[in-house]
Symmetry: C2
């Protein structure tokens, strides 16, 4: 006839010590005799004891819970989104933190609720737009918070993200170094640009700027999700750039796959006729046909760093700042020097 879940009194009784001894034994904040510690551990195991979360929160002022604000916008690619959510949860667990998931309207509204009720110790923001109401809210709440992505106004905020500008530079340089002089860029769906998502224009603008700097001719087009939209996008860049020998894809997995299909149908071989680079992709390109050179968008790296930064804010040894993750280039054989006409 035992209660549903054991508490610290039960453990103390079974081990024959006081509750403070149990607490110190488990936290290790004071020295405990080895024999006592052993009896306590035994009792804990026997009773399957875990400290009551509510009591711990109340007393300790630490909830060991993080709020993850992750609205899923139309046009956001679900698998990529999922990869970030998963990475955040996994990274948080490494610091013994659980994650409360706030989606859709709760991504904003719920933030205030859980913060003001001291349900969470910190906040992670996903998929911020250039001008996102959540950034203002986070500033107001004054809780440790980390933004994955770069909003327009980063004052007072801790942000981390892949250096999309540098990624664009990397892509352009690679093609230019190989000798390409006319390169295309197929981007995200139009509505992604319209919605104010932060990274697509960052990539595009840096791409165009670097190309201009190096004096190569470029054409850019967004690409809608459906196969018709993809076909249209491919036709558009090839029409704009009849001598195009290099192409960069900054779009989601199915679109990249469809682009390759369309190229195949058009009789364009990769990299024979066209060098193709997959930029800032959160998925593996090695099952594409052909596998594409890729500048990965490392969700786990961004998220791990975001959690580290949040923990650093708990410790108080960090100032708000913006951190960029350096992109890398992975060769998989989809680029080569342009074939002379």
């Amino acid at each position: 006839m035992e209660s549903l879940v054991a508490n610290i009194h039960d453990v103390a009784r079974v081990a024959g010590v006081s509750i403070s001894t149990v607490s110190y034994a488990l936290s290790g904040k004071r020295s405990i005799a080895a024999s006592t510690k052993q009896r306590i551990d035994q009792a804990v195991l026997e009773l399957d004891y875990r400290a009551n979360a509510g009591a711990r929160m109340l007393k300790g002022a630490r909830t060991q819970i993080l709020a993850l604000s992750a609205p899923l916008h139309a046009g956001t690619h679900a698998p990529a989104h999922m990869a970030f959510v998963l990475s955040v949860v996994t990274a948080a667990r490494a610091y013994d933190y659980d994650v409360l998931l706030l989606t859709q309207d709760e991504a904003t509204m719920g933030l205030r609720r859980v913060a003001r009720s001291s349900l969470v110790d910190g906040i992670v923001l996903l998929d911020v737009s250039t001008s996102d109401p959540r950034t203002e809210l986070v500033r107001e709440l004054g809780l440790p918070a980390t933004v994955i992505g770069i909003p327009n106004d980063t004052a007072g905020l801790t942000c981390v993200d892949l250096d999309f500008e540098e990624a664009a530079v990397l892509a352009v340089r690679r093609l230019v170094d190989l000798g390409h002089r006319e390169i295309g860029l197929i981007g995200q769906a139009p509505l992604v640009y319209e919605r104010g998502s932060n990274f697509p224009p960052r990539f595009r603008d840096a791409f165009l700027a670097e190309a201009a700097r190096l004096g190569v001719t470029v054409a850019f087009t967004p690409a809608a999700e459906e196969s018709a939209g993809v076909r249209a996008a491919v036709d558009l860049v090839t029409a704009a750039l009849p001598g195009m020998t290099g192409l960069v894809l900054h779009c989601n997995e199915p679109v990249q796959s469809m682009v390759l299909d369309v190229l195949g149908q058009r009789g364009i071989s990769v990299p024979g006729d066209l060098s193709v680079i997959s930029a800032c992709s959160s998925f593996s390109t090695d099952h594409l046909n052909p596998p594409l050179d890729v500048i990965p968008l490392p969700a786990d790296q961004s998220c791990t760093r975001a959690i580290e930064l949040t923990m650093a804010q708990f410790a108080g040894d960090t100032e708000p700042h913006v951190e960029y993750i350096t992109p890398t280039y992975v060769e998989l054989g989809s680029t080569s020097a342009p074939t002379p006409l």
Copy 2:
């Protein structure tokens, strides 16, 4: 110089009443004079007061948090998975519940942890396999829990899911009623069947059984995710069934899209030469080319019901049982009577 977050004492002081009066005013569990109530509401607004979550948990034995155990297995389609996660979170919020997300190994390990520490009031299980260690764990923990999906052993469990068997029957009947006598079924990726996910075989077996019952000829094949695998699957069913005039797709979005592409390449028109049905799809088929008749997999419906059932368990007015959601058939013009040879 005001503390970071206001507590009930602050509210009481500002409103000039005792803390118990504040508590009763906010919970409505005892009658309060209109004027007093008004002063309290005013103070709450002014201080942006929210009851401390830890204290509420500790005293009330209700945490207003649900654990969502959602491992993302290889082969699970991320968008579909995401749809379920989102639906659970949204449905839970309607009952003022927040959701703690447990993924990957934490989906099992973390369940025990959060349950034993009384962090959560209940549990929702996603993506259960036929024989899932989490079902045993849930039985052991004795917390209110709802399983989305049907494991082999449902004893003592509350489960809810689309009636995949009935969905299969619906698909077969539709084709047979139109006059088709040779119908194919393209299923999920092979590893989904191997992993022991519960619904794919349920659909497949019911499909084959109903076809046998009605005396029509069938061929089944799984389909790997890549375009080569899809092509192979299409070739396999057409080879097995030279006279095939009906085809049912029980696979994810990109695969269905690729199947339609392959059919187009093979010069097979839908529904002219082949009637095609999209079965148990969590996405909208109306942007496919052509849009497919569909038996939707309504994530929101399953999840809403799952939350309802969990809440019913809190109230104690429900026994463990299995509930099936009745599938519906949506016509979008991708089926017709077979053309006579």
